[in-house]
């Protein structure tokens, strides 16, 4: 993950990093070989690409943590290779051993590279630029001439100019060596270190985070205890003490859908009016919207979904109310055709149960019968099948409220033998045959699905990402440059200046050299080849040649334009 610091190093066999590892006295033999391999740039590059490829199946195949039903469907549809994919972890790619192996190796490689570089950087923190090269003429950006000024004044003028331009300058008896752009390596190191911190923060967060959902009907409330959740996932380090005590009551839920021709039926507004109660605090009214979660002592409450809860009353054969209240129906399509089950286990002499469909905007379709044509409640209808059976002893074992278990129940039928089917509108009652009781559709309420979650260490994730971006930007924007000045030892003051960019991609090196030349009183003759205009194409890399100069442009190619 290192960047080779100068062009010359690149062309010579092993990367700079491999050599660096050798220099840092890693133990000899196989271990040394393995370490050098793991931390080599080529390995890092291959691991990086491997990580990218390994992530792809996670987007193509259904993933169990996100979409467990999709996985079941896939396994049913592909009985031959489905189980093999399952065994190999393809339905939980991002939790699989092989995915973890790739990124852990990558981070090992990264750490192995970054630590020696940090040490080197720390040692070089206040280091002076290296000695002036012996032959400045070998640099493509180079100027020379004689100046009628004493050598000391030339060096003074050069140093003043370089320091003014932000260079670190080391002065020798017969020359100046200047360098700038030290922040590049710093930015690079900060970026890589922040990736390590990010991984640690994510690991920490996944240990202690939790996320649960609960369906809350209008007029009802959710209290933050484990038993109130419909679904709950947490890291291995989670403890119930992390659940801060609060209660959220849903007072009213507003929805609006697109009624125009374009995107008809698309959601336009979700707004939940809630009351939040916390111990020791007065209850407060809050607004909960999709992009505006509630934040309660580090726990977030998000609005994730909504649906309908028809309010029904079931009377039994004795004429007593066996059940009364809203029943949550789960939406099946974008027009909120919803499915649900009403259970009246306390009905006597027979217990009753109903299974059916709720249609918020029912329209009779000649082919499909009644269907919902819009998600809002314009013409709510409740279609129910009825079941009856002898009373069942209370076992106390939990039961899925959305599924009807027909054991011990008989579906009620018409005289023709077809299943009995009620069509209810708000305010109507359907009486069951043979004095078994009745069911009334009294009204309609909405429910919302709330998600309660907390991710400890989230701030560290955010901080490491932001600092990482900063480091990355600095490392890509700062481009190190070295400038040299050498004066002749003879009687006449012969002056040479030259420059080199340690990474390419930066324009204006020729101009920087020319400025230095002018600052010491040298008028660089154009013919001297500042910018290596005359050199062969493709050989001009060292020269920091500007992009424009190869293009048919009227501009002076030496002009700095950045």
């Amino acid at each position: 993950m290192t960047e080779v610091s100068s062009p010359e190093e690149v062309d010579s066999g092993p990367s700079g990093r491999e050599r660096m590892n050798r220099a840092h006295g890693v133990p000899s033999g196989t271990v040394r070989w393995a370490w050098a391999t793991v931390t080599s740039m080529r390995t890092a590059l291959v691991l990086l690409l491997l990580l990218g490829v390994a992530a792809i199946p996670g987007s193509v195949l259904p993933q169990r943590p996100v979409n467990p039903f999709g996985v079941t469907d896939y396994l049913t549809a592909h009985p031959t290779w489905g189980p093999w994919l399952d065994r190999l972890g393809f339905f939980d790619v991002f939790g699989s051993v092989w995915f973890a192996a790739v990124y852990l190796l990558l981070f090992l490689s990264l750490i192995g590279c970054i630590i020696p570089r940090c040490l080197t950087y720390a040692q070089a923190w206040r280091a002076q630029p290296g000695a002036v090269p012996r032959r400045l003429a070998r640099f493509a950006d180079h100027a020379a001439g004689s100046v009628r000024v004493p050598p000391v004044e030339i060096l003074d003028a050069g140093e003043r100019h370089l320091r003014g331009a932000g260079y670190r300058v080391s002065r020798e008896e017969h020359g100046l060596s200047a360098e700038r752009g030290y922040l590049r390596e710093a930015g690079n190191l900060v970026f890589h270190l922040s990736l390590v911190v990010l991984l640690a923060a994510l690991a920490w967060g996944s240990l202690f985070s939790f996320r649960g959902t609960a369906i809350v009907v209008e007029g009802q409330a959710f209290s933050n205890t484990l038993t109130q959740y419909d679904e709950f996932h947490s890291g291995v380090g989670f403890s119930a003490r992390q659940l801060v005590p609060f209660t959220v009551s849903l007072d009213d839920f507003e929805v609006q859908f697109e009624t125009g021709a374009t995107q008809r039926g698309a959601a336009r507004l979700f707004r939940a009016h809630v009351t939040v109660s916390r111990p020791g605090l007065a209850p407060t009214g809050e607004l909960l919207e999709v992009n505006a979660p509630l934040s309660l002592d580090g726990t977030s409450v998000h609005l994730l979904g909504h649906g309908y809860a028809p309010v029904v009353t079931v009377r039994d054969g004795n004429g007593d109310v066996a059940f009364s209240g809203p029943v949550v129906f789960l939406p099946q399509d974008s027009n909120f055709t919803s499915h649900g089950v009403i259970k009246a286990p306390d009905a006597r002499p027979e217990r009753l149960a109903f299974e059916g469909v709720f249609l918020p905007s029912a329209v009779a379709d000649p082919v499909n019968g009644l269907t919902s044509v819009f998600p809002d409640a314009w013409n709510p209808q409740l279609l129910l099948n009825a079941w009856a059976g002898p009373p069942k002893a209370e076992t106390g074992s939990p039961e899925n409220v959305y599924v009807l278990n027909p054991t011990g129940l008989t579906q009620l039928t018409k005289d023709t033998g077809d299943p009995l089917r009620s069509g209810l509108q708000i305010g109507t009652t359907f009486t069951l045959p043979d004095g078994r009781g009745s069911v009334s559709f009294d009204g309609l309420q909405r429910w919302t699905k709330l998600q309660v979650s907390a991710t400890p260490g989230g701030w560290l994730v955010l901080a490491s990402v932001l600092i990482g971006i900063l480091g990355l930007t600095v490392s890509l924007l700062v481009r190190p440059r070295r400038l040299f000045l050498r004066i002749g030892r003879g009687e006449s003051t012969q002056v040479e200046v030259a420059g080199v960019d340690r990474v390419d991609g930066r324009p204006g090196l020729g101009e920087a050299v020319a400025q230095l030349a002018r600052a010491v009183g040298l008028d660089p003759p154009r013919a001297d080849g500042v910018g290596a205009e005359g050199s062969a194409e493709g050989q001009a890399t060292l020269a920091g040649t500007d992009v424009a100069e190869r293009a048919p442009s009227k501009d002076d190619p030496r002009q700095e334009r950045s």
């Binding site: 080779v4 999709v290 990355l472 293009a551």
Partner: protein
């Protein structure tokens, strides 16, 4: 009314880009076999004509994007059609600025090719009528996240096109025979490589920021900053490919051709993330669909 003008202007810009593409193709065709560095007067004329048509097309294009925003009364990048047209407008404007400031007119053919294909697909395949946003998009991050994505998309696109030109030029330079035709007119492979790198060096931090901003938004909207949604996964894959490109440029044996190939793969990944992922996979970003 502004929606009507926007549609009219968008189609017009697609046609104009096509015209500019044809003119630039003729310019390249005229250079065939030429073994000198001098452009013939006719070639020069076609080059300037192509640039002029591109400028008109860009003006019409930007007008169309602005009118779309006025018609929708929000930022014009709420679906695939709007995202593609906005991002391409940014790419063409960046190209034009660089033509005048840095003499990048040699990118004319690939940029007009991209714009003609992109705008052509946008107005035919991806077009949707103006509509308000769904509640999940009502956020300040809608502007931040998507502007960053569109801008990095524009920069990646130009950098990727430059990488393709680099591959052509470098192959030509490796041959013993002297180059002729348009490849001869291009800057040296080293210069193209450096230009391509600069676009990527600009785009990658921005793309990293795009992903981070998306994660912050996801935390607000869905209560988790990362959930391996297909769009999130492919954003990460894109990021990884571009990071690999930057590292490859500094690795012996990888710099040059292999690095440029990675840049091209990165661009393919980027556009697959914006088009393919919406069409092929269902995920939380599906509101960005057609």
């Amino acid at each position: 009314m502004s929606a009507y003008y926007s549609n009219l202007a968008m189609v017009t810009s697609a046609v104009l880009y096509l015209v500019a593409l044809i003119v630039h193709s003729l310019e390249w065709a005229l250079a065939r076999g030429s073994a000198t560095n001098e452009r013939s007067p006719r070639e020069d004329l076609l080059g300037r004509l192509g640039l002029s048509v591109t400028m008109v097309a860009a003006a019409v294009h930007v007008f169309a994007v602005v009118m779309r925003g006025i018609a929708a009364q929000r930022a014009p990048w709420g679906n695939m059609y709007e995202f593609i047209t906005s991002s391409l407008a940014m790419a063409v404007v960046i190209y034009l600025v660089l033509v005048f400031r840095r003499g990048l007119s040699w990118l004319g053919l690939p940029v007009t090719l991209l714009a003609a294909i992109g705008q052509g697909l946008a107005v035919t395949v991806f077009y949707v009528n103006v509509a308000p946003l769904m509640p999940a998009l009502h956020s300040v991050w809608f502007v931040i996240h998507i502007v960053a994505a569109a801008l990095s998309g524009a920069a990646f696109s130009i950098g990727g096109l430059a990488a393709v030109l680099y591959l052509l030029k470098a192959r030509g330079e490796r041959r013993a025979a002297p180059l002729n035709g348009y490849l001869r007119r291009l800057p040296s492979a080293a210069v193209i490589d450096r230009l391509s790198y600069r676009f990527h060096a600009f785009a990658l931090p921005l793309w990293t920021f795009t992903i981070a901003a998306g994660a912050i938004w996801a935390q607000f909207a869905w209560g988790r900053f990362w959930g391996w949604d297909p769009k999130e996964t492919w954003s990460l894959v894109t990021w990884i490919v571009y990071v690999a490109y930057l590292h490859a440029r500094a690795t012996a044996g990888w710099k040059g051709t292999r690095a440029a190939v990675l840049a091209v793969i990165g661009l393919a990944t980027f556009w697959f993330n914006f088009i393919g992922v919406n069409l092929l996979f269902s995920g939380l970003h599906s509101y960005a669909g057609i």
